[in-house]
Symmetry: C2
Subunit: 482 residues, 2 copies
């Protein structure tokens, strides 16, 4: 990617803000002053300021210019690492998680729990045009036969092109289409492990991984994970040395729920640890395209030299979850995954695959993604500030550079499950941290979704949540050591 | 259903033919003679003759009137029952079956193997109009959210209406939408049994049930099954008494591969056997609507008094397999199945469900089914006659009153796998009977699909098959007892 002048300027200004040259609430120097200072064109300077606004660093006030917004770090510290025990255990969260997920499906509820996005963020009209075009030409012939178990060839070719820079030498033949990322991960996990096997996950992790592990009768081995740079490699190494681990399931970028992206060196070291031991990694990269920075984060699969990374993703967070179009690149397990998919549902529907294929063929996906990232970044900044405004002192919060959700660590006196139940009665759903681990380590944490455009209604919801939390704390004595 | 005069007349004439009053090749009395004999109107008599033509009993010859076609029973005897051992066993057909299914997917091959239908038999245009109408109004909103894990409510209501007469008191809340019938059966089986459990199947059975059982590490208990009226109840009872059976998987109507429908009394007795022992039955009724007789055969579920029948079906044989819209009514296992579906793929795609919902709302499904049944009956009659013409003496053949496939029992010297391989080289695929059981009992049988309109090309294919079979027999000595 070429280096744009406006980006360089934006970076410089951001750096100044972070260094304290400018403080929250101050007015930023005018465009004229920046012009004099930098010799850049007015249009370049305007672009830089827009970029900073996009990053949530500054806000424009009509007729007054740009003002510095409070840095998240200045107002709320990041969540803390928990030292959880690293012993494999049977998972027993399904009854609880199922009840919570059920409640989260209610359309009358303000959904701050699920990692879903507002329909306005999706390219619904463009997709509708694609579906219409399918209905007008090849539909009858397309749906009258079973799709190939590997999936729609054109779509797989498009995907192979998308991944050229992310996964070395990937071809359409390496990609298998699934009913969403869930089916991809579930099928890959079944391909490499069975009942009783030990599966490594991060702590906290995406609740559904635990549910899947429980459903398949496997054991979860939870590894302490840092909220800013990911899994603890030495704890992981020790866990691998002391347990017969069959596989790992990792959310590689903008990890759900913490939101971190491990640096490339760490990703490389992580993959090497597993490669050396011949242990497969199931990589769920569903948030990879939702980056707020300048470039897409790397995949674990790009560091895999032995075909042991089974990469999974979908269009559910970028185009439309209701399409249920996901895929996997199972590396050396392709044949096994392919069979499992065949036994499971023969193949995925042709209609949805053809519609997505036509959409991708129009070369508008990247433009849509750019808009989507900008909106998500703004929504997340607004949600973060709202939490800072309305939640009691002592709240800690993650600062992801992409993805859809933030992780909020509350006072230890707060029981997230109790909070979930009380909030639900007032019409708000959050995801209680308790289902993000098989232990009790995250009982005082919640995950909040930033998929909805921020408005007064949402701000009110966050305020109400804050009030409930404050009430909870006030009636309980502070516990020792909290 | 009201009793139509033309049907009564058609039944009477069919009875006369079957009793030998008229013989194959003879000319049927003229319309004028029937009029004098019955006092019915010419139009009623013409309808009766069309009905008989539809049933494959007579054929019209231009300017000569109607001639009696040979009865299938007159030319080829039905296949024989095999006494297979009824002991549970690990299944080991997947490698073989997978290779066979792979070969059957080749579009250059004359597909007499898969139970698929020609696109012309499907209502492609009407479905395309439905898809177009979805693309023009609600699409963006529909696909921007995850569908409810139970599936599209409107579609489930339509299905509940369809099943009113077939399953007592069924409601939309009892029905769960799946990615085709495969996913329905696989999910239901996982809901009631696990690795190591014993599952009852018919012998021969649909190969994919065996593949699924193998994939899930379960054991298959194959029960002798009569080609004309189904499973041997006393063998079944004894097997249930002597084994700890966890579940059964039955294709309830037009069983794949044999094509039989058990009489209602037998279905009732079958369900009672399982009900008494509290053992669940997974009923796959995917062919139930493809009946050639006057009314739809009953479901096993209609005889179930304890919520122990998990009913599965789909639109793959009636509307379009590429839509992947199936469903199940899991009875008392609904909650479990619902969870498994959620862990597996969250939900099925909204677009395809909405399209089918709109199609069903137009009240054209039953008319389409009537046309489809007529065409299939004709295709099956033609295929049966072609097999009779071209296959060597000693061939036995099933005479299903519905469904898509016929079961052909060849001389014992024929190895169906060898036949499959040789036929494939000449561009023809059949399904070798060897993968319809875990034993060797059906090595000399094949299943032939009647899903394609019969023409010279197909007739040639059957002739070539017959030649290969004759060659195989001629080079092998007759085995003792064959």
């Amino acid at each position: 990617m070429p280096e744009f002048r406006y980006l360089t300027l934006a970076d410089e200004i951001e750096h100044s803000i972070r260094c304290g040259t400018y403080h929250a609430g101050e007015r930023l120097p005018s465009i004229r002053k920046w012009r004099a200072k930098t010799q850049l064109s007015i249009s370049t300077i305007c672009q830089a300021l827009l970029e900073l606004e996009r990053r949530g660093m500054i806000a424009s006030r009509p007729k007054s210019g740009y003002f510095i917004r409070p840095l998240r770090e200045q107002i709320l510290p990041p969540p803390q690492t928990r030292q959880t025990e690293t012993k494999p255990g049977s998972v027993t969260i399904n009854n609880l998680a199922f009840a919570i997920l059920e409640a989260m499906g209610d359309p009358e509820i303000l959904q701050l729990g699920g990692s879903v996005m507002s329909p306005e963020l999706m390219p619904g009209k463009a997709l509708a045009r694609c579906v219409k075009s399918v209905s007008q030409d090849r539909l009858a012939g397309l749906i009258a036969v079973y799709e190939h178990p590997m999936g729609h060839l054109g779509l797989r070719r498009c995907l192979a092109q998308c991944y050229t820079a992310l996964v070395n030498g990937i071809q359409a033949e390496d990609i298998l289409i699934t009913n969403g990322c869930f089916e991809a991960v579930a099928t890959c996990l079944r391909a490499v492990a069975e009942k009783g096997d030990v599966i490594v996950v991060e702590s906290p992790t995406f609740p559904w991984y635990l549910q899947l592990i429980e459903d398949l009768g496997m054991l979860a081995l939870e590894i302490p994970t840092d909220p800013t740079d990911g899994i603890d490699l030495s704890a992981l190494k020790s866990a691998l040395d002391h347990n017969s681990v069959k596989a790992a399931v990792f959310n590689s970028n903008f990890q759900n729920p913490l939101g971190f992206v491990p640096p490339d060196d760490k990703k490389r070291a992580l993959v090497r640890l597993f490669n050396e031991r011949q242990i497969p990694i199931i990589e769920d990269d569903i948030y990879g395209e939702l980056y707020f920075g300048r470039s897409r984060p790397s995949t674990l699969k790009s560091f895999d030299t032995r075909g042991l990374v089974l990469y999974c993703s979908s269009f559910s967070k970028t185009l439309a979850p209701g399409l249920r179009v996901g895929w996997c690149m199972p590396g050396r397990f392709l044949e096994k995954v392919r069979r499992l998919k065949l036994y499971l549902s023969i193949s995925s529907p042709t209609l949805t695959q053809e519609a997505v294929y036509r959409y991708l063929s129009q070369d508008v996906f990247e433009r849509h993604l750019r808009k989507l990232r900008t909106k998500l970044q703004r929504q997340m900044a607004d949600m973060t500030l709202a939490v800072a405004r309305h939640f009691p002192k002592g709240t800690r919060i993650s600062a992801p550079q992409g993805g859809l959700t933030i992780w909020v660590q509350l006072d230890r006196r707060v029981d997230s499950l109790e909070l979930f139940r009380r909030a639900l009665k007032t019409g708000i759903a959050v995801l209680p941290g308790i289902i993000c681990a098989n232990t009790d380590a995250y009982r005082h944490c919640i995950r909040i979704s930033c998929g909805l455009p921020f408005d007064e209604y949402l701000d009110n919801g966050v305020r109400n949540l804050g009030t409930i939390i404050a009430e909870t704390i006030s009636v309980k004595p502070a516990s020792v050591g909290s």
